[in-house]
Subunit: 92 residues, 10 copies
Amino acid sequence: MEFLVDVRVALPAEMEAQQRAALLAAELQRGRELVAAGHISGIWRIPGALRNVAIWQARDATELHELIASLPLFPWIAADVTALATHPLNAD
Amino acid sequence: MEFLVDVRVALPAEMEAQQRAALLAAELQRGRELVAAGHISGIWRIPGALRNVAIWQARDATELHELIASLPLFPWIAADVTALATHPLNAD
Amino acid sequence: MEFLVDVRVALPAEMEAQQRAALLAAELQRGRELVAAGHISGIWRIPGALRNVAIWQARDATELHELIASLPLFPWIAADVTALATHPLNAD
Amino acid sequence: MEFLVDVRVALPAEMEAQQRAALLAAELQRGRELVAAGHISGIWRIPGALRNVAIWQARDATELHELIASLPLFPWIAADVTALATHPLNAD
Amino acid sequence: MEFLVDVRVALPAEMEAQQRAALLAAELQRGRELVAAGHISGIWRIPGALRNVAIWQARDATELHELIASLPLFPWIAADVTALATHPLNAD
Amino acid sequence: MEFLVDVRVALPAEMEAQQRAALLAAELQRGRELVAAGHISGIWRIPGALRNVAIWQARDATELHELIASLPLFPWIAADVTALATHPLNAD
Amino acid sequence: MEFLVDVRVALPAEMEAQQRAALLAAELQRGRELVAAGHISGIWRIPGALRNVAIWQARDATELHELIASLPLFPWIAADVTALATHPLNAD
Amino acid sequence: MEFLVDVRVALPAEMEAQQRAALLAAELQRGRELVAAGHISGIWRIPGALRNVAIWQARDATELHELIASLPLFPWIAADVTALATHPLNAD
Amino acid sequence: MEFLVDVRVALPAEMEAQQRAALLAAELQRGRELVAAGHISGIWRIPGALRNVAIWQARDATELHELIASLPLFPWIAADVTALATHPLNAD
Amino acid sequence: MEFLVDVRVALPAEMEAQQRAALLAAELQRGRELVAAGHISGIWRIPGALRNVAIWQARDATELHELIASLPLFPWIAADVTALATHPLNAD
């Protein structure tokens, strides 16, 4: 099943540059794994902030939660999840 | 998969009593079928309005949409859908 | 450039069934053209309502507006447009 | 009487891992007691966050408040409570 | 049990004066019955609109819904219901 | 004059237990004085949070502000004040 | 006592010009009376809409409601009322 | 003085095509006059709707209101006005 | 030109009493200067919080910003500014 | 392509004056470069806060994000981006 997930990251401005860089690098690495495993099939940045929208693929909402919770930035993330249904234009 | 669906019905106040009664009766009948088929496993009224919250069961969001769209009141309905994941307390 | 467009359709409940069906058929036909022309690269239904989210491709916001305004349902549509930037995971 | 309770937990990201784990374990334990006592009859996780919705059973809102306030995570919780009425589909 | 109910009435401005007056008179009459029966123990007008807040008494949310739905203005009403718990200052 | 006051208390979760208990005890004591003086004629807890709604009596908004500002928890409080008018059902 | 009242007028666009002009003239006339009687001590238009903010003077919220309800445009008005307290800068 | 004005037009979908076209033509004509007179110094369409944002120039809010109210579409318009101050980057 | 300015002050609850008192005294002193200079022609406290609404007079939004930024509490302030136009009732 | 960008800066009130001044000076310097390069074609301050709206020019949303992220205040900024289409009044 597919989900639209809108992820906003709220890293505190005063976080040390090194910790910040390490977290962002780990996040990118975990993201690559999720793309490779087919769990993220499309992802875009919302300009002007640390925020992205992506199309996630998971068996159900339970697996989806585990995938999002596996992100290194999870404690700093606010994620809005929207379940997606097939649209007639895609189902042709 | 389970979904929390919050349904608000906005029938115009000036609708004829007969049409209103017929629609509500048809809605109740369709609701009974959805309960019998296991698609609605729990449903509650939000007091003070024509509004309910229910736990729906569907293969995925595509089937869920078809089920909601099968309601006779669908053209007058605003429905908010939330995908539900298993909670550790239920998975024990 | 890519845009996330969230389209909600508000057809009045009392619209005649024939006009409604004709409008929805014309909308689907125009949608197929936009998909074929590469202007819509992904589209999903939000369950529970006449609402969809889609990834649109256009030279710029001016062309995007013309494409959305070409939809037969445009007078009944509320559309939220979000400009999308490339995400590092896609740019790899 | 039944209530729909939407619980969002806001643990600070910088909380020590040990305190966090202890709190979450105590919360799970208290949750099991509430399920066993029949005060929580259904509970689901909202994917993407530390958030759940549940159906609570209590004599009245006063008892419900005491039950929610007994959660170890109560100081970090924002809870929205909705009183639930019987729906005709359940009352059949 | 007690509930705080916030009632906003949205009568269309173009309703005939006679129908409007009859509805408001019937509403007042039904209100007097609810006060006499102890279902409304306090009621105040929010200035500037057809809106009131009141403390309602009912066995549970199911009875409360029936009481609100018995108002002649119910089809034009939007009601927000908040379940109330005993406060230590009142429980002394 | 009467006012509906909705008070939400936001004590930081990490406040020391002793300071917290002392503040809450002082708040309860000041509340008892306000009840005894007739300034609070009804008060209820909103379940699930440190939040209450109450009917306050004061000469005018200036006195009301002084009364609310006299609460020991005032620096942690967000209060919404609604001026109340007499309702025909009460004025009978 | 003083109140800040924010009044938005929602006349339907299709109202006949004559009825519209008559209503607006009556509203202006009633406004002049309220100014002359000292019930409106300051009034400003919010640019871009049929909307104003004003400082109203009334014994209490009950009288204020009667004054606002006496406006010819009352059935088309949405009014937000804020009770005002004396500010130290004015009380000097 | 400069103002940012966000204008949303809500023409009813069922308006006759001829009336609609006439109104939009008159609006465009009045817009050209406002541009020529220097009252609109920049204007952009928000894609996906009948909506624009523009930089308006007026002596003060009183003149601005008269300019906006002179638009043929004024009865169907919702306009949000933001007063603009000089930014140091422009004042260099 | 006149502006309606809604000022909410968010001093942290844990600020030292001495710093708090000094800031509030300085704010009151600066407020007196602004009143004396004719920049604030009316000011009221919103009861229940550190919040006020006032009518400010300034040449334009640029001067208004400088006046607000001159307040000692400016770093803790959230201010909403509304440009005000002359109302026909005042212009008589 | 053009974008309307609404930037709100949330510097903590307790930041040291020297760091604050250095950041604001660096921000102004970077802003001058963006103006000189034609990336910001108009910018205004929203009075009463550290907030501005500006018209930005960029190839696409990806370049726009890089430009905004190059601001020294980026970690303290919340930016809302709106894609802008050509308006008929500008395209004449």
